[in-house]
């Protein structure tokens, strides 16, 4: 810990207001998503606690029937928006983190295999990556999402929606990881410590995982942060289009979609607050990722 506090990295961090603020926002959002149960004044998805009379209450104004006030107002069903946003944040972050985790594991493994073993496996993996790069990743995610939904029995669709969402975003983002890892693996495998490992008869898997992997992980963490912002936005986009998180388990994207219906009838807050939350989250993750990249590896730019 002391070594970390004395490092150049930490010094650069204390010198960058941008990094401090963006990390602070991210940490705050992650904490409030994890602790949503305790922070949220109401459970927005317990139908019994909702009072339809509270519908369309403007922020910080007492409701004209019940007299209750809500920090950020309520939606059409009288649901407290602040609570809904906290729980939506939780879904958005969970999907984002899991999708990036999936993309990272997949991309790093395929990149290692392509870079170290080479040959036809390399060609196969990288051409697959090339093909995938020619489509926007949101389109790939929608394709995977649609196929998965078609394969699943109807009664499982709502339940599995989040899993399918993670799968489709994860599978659409592995390419960046694979390309970077393949490149650094090809550099590392020519180094003599790999020859030394081959001399004592280690098999390719042992060499890839024990020797090469620790040496190619640096840029991967940076890419993971930047991809997290992309994944959160992708999730929101999918949910906004109605192919993501279901209404029973809404993410920020779902909330924005719901709010959009009421924007032009004057209930602006139902759209605005979830949208602002998403903006703040994606922006600060992105800014922090950019700062990480510039600080840890200026060559990646």
């Amino acid at each position: 810990m002391r070594r970390f506090l004395n490092s150049d990295f930490f010094y650069a961090f204390t010198r960058s207001p941008l990094a401090i603020v963006s990390l602070l926002v991210v940490v705050l959002m992650v904490l409030s998503a994890i602790l949503a149960n305790f922070i949220a004044p109401t459970n927005p998805f317990d139908a019994a606690s909702l009072n339809l009379m509270n519908g369309f209450t403007a922020p910080m104004e007492p409701n004209m029937f019940t007299g209750e006030t809500f920090l950020l107002g309520t939606d059409d069903q009288g649901r407290d928006l602040f609570s809904a946003i906290l729980f939506g944040l939780r879904v958005s972050l969970f999907v984002g983190v899991m999708a990036v985790g999936l993309a990272m594991v997949l991309g790093v493994l395929l990149g290692l295999i392509a870079g170290y073993l080479g040959g036809w496996l390399d060609t196969l993996i990288m051409r697959l990556a090339d093909i995938q790069m020619t489509f926007p990743s949101i389109l790939i995610a929608m394709l995977i999402f649609g196929v998965a939904r078609g394969l699943l029995p109807a009664e499982l669709r709502e339940e599995m929606a989040i899993t399918v969402l993670i799968l489709s975003i994860g599978l659409s983002e592995w390419v960046t990881f694979a390309r970077t890892v393949r490149g650094s693996t090809m550099v590392e495998k020519e180094k003599e410590y790999v020859s030394a490992a081959r001399l004592i008869g280690l098999n390719p898997w042992q060499i890839m995982l024990r020797h090469i992997l620790p040496n190619v992980l640096g840029p991967v963490l940076v890419i993971a942060t930047i991809t997290l912002a992309l994944a959160i936005i992708a999730e929101a986009t999918l949910s906004f289009l109605g192919v993501g998180a279901p209404r029973t388990e809404p993410s920020l994207g779902t909330l924005i979609r719901v709010g959009q219906d009421f924007l032009f009838s004057g209930e602006w807050w139902i759209l605005l607050f979830p949208a602002l939350t998403l903006l703040a989250l994606a922006l600060s993750v992105n800014l922090f990722g950019d700062w990480l990249r510039d600080t840890l590896n200026p060559r990646l730019r």
Binding site: E192, Y193, A196, A197, L199, I200, G201, L202, P214, N215
Partner: protein, 272 residues
């Protein structure tokens, strides 16, 4: 029969374009003969040096001797056994691998930067199942570090905390960890400055005396060769042009190429 025997050792590299490009441009295959029918023998406990300019195929030979690269033709046998023998079981292969180790050229790239020295040195013990148990391995690591002139507290450090010469000592200790009989030294001192070169060479010499090691020395530096080698082979463009005992080669070189090499080596003449 000698301990290490190379018979008609050849290696061809395929530098051709991919098949489809070749067919479209109608160009023939391009092959590079890096090593062409090289023969040499090394007696147990002696040092054989291969000298030559860069591109003469020295390192290719080194890689073939340790089994990192398969020969295109010919064979390498060590104590009568051939590493390229496909009929060998995995266990037999490991037993033979243990007896042949290598010290590499670059002191910077030859040690994994993310591993502690102790882990680097104990890895061969685990791979060859030489020493079981963490305590016994740690003891052996300390012993190895002492043998190469480092202290046992260095085991917990990372490679970047050492100088080039010290790293080369770690590299030598790693080779010793598997208790080898042959060590191939691929330009072990060419990345070091002159005073450190002498220390590393002296270390290699004293280890040879202590463990009866057989060395194959790959170098372009004739000064290094003159102090280390019993026998010298001169390589030119993949062909072994001359082979003599060290003293004879320096006094009566037979080939023109060898004479040119000898005369082009920088000398310090204190009299003039």
């Amino acid at each position: 029969m000698s301990f290490v025997v190379a018979r008609d050792l050849s290696r061809t590299f395929n530098l051709s374009d991919p098949w489809i490009v070749r067919k479209l441009t109608m160009r023939p295959k391009r092959l590079l003969k890096a090593v062409d029918a090289v023969n040499f023998e090394i007696e147990r406990g002696t040092t054989y040096a291969l000298v030559g300019e860069s591109g003469s195929g020295k390192s290719t030979i080194a890689n073939m001797v340790v089994g990192l690269l398969a020969p295109s033709a010919g064979s390498i046998t060590i104590d009568g056994q051939n590493l390229g023998d496909a009929s060998m079981s995995r266990q037999e292969q490991q037993r033979l691998r243990r007896r042949i180790q290598m010290v590499f050229q670059s002191p910077y790239a030859s040690l994994n930067p993310r591993w502690r020295v102790g882990d680097i040195l104990s890895e061969p013990m685990r791979a060859f199942k030489l020493i079981d148990g963490a305590t016994a391995q740690r003891k052996r690591v300390a012993q190895l570090l002492e043998q190469v002139g480092l202290s046992d507290s260095d085991a917990s450090k990372f490679p970047h905390e050492f100088s080039g010469g010290q790293r080369q000592r770690i590299s030598i200790a790693r080779a010793l960890a598997s208790q080898p009989e042959v060590i191939i030294c691929d330009e072990p001192t060419s990345a070091l400055d002159v005073s450190v070169q002498a220390q590393v060479l002296n270390l290699l010499k004293s280890l040879q005396k202590e463990f009866g090691l057989t060395y194959l020395f790959i170098t372009h530096d004739l000064a290094v060769v003159s102090t280390m080698a019993n026998k010298i082979g001169v390589l030119n463009q993949g062909v072994l042009v001359e082979e003599q005992d060290t003293e004879d080669l320096f006094t009566t070189p037979r080939e023109d190429y060898t004479k040119m090499l000898l005369s082009s080596a920088p000398k310090i003449d204190f009299d003039s």
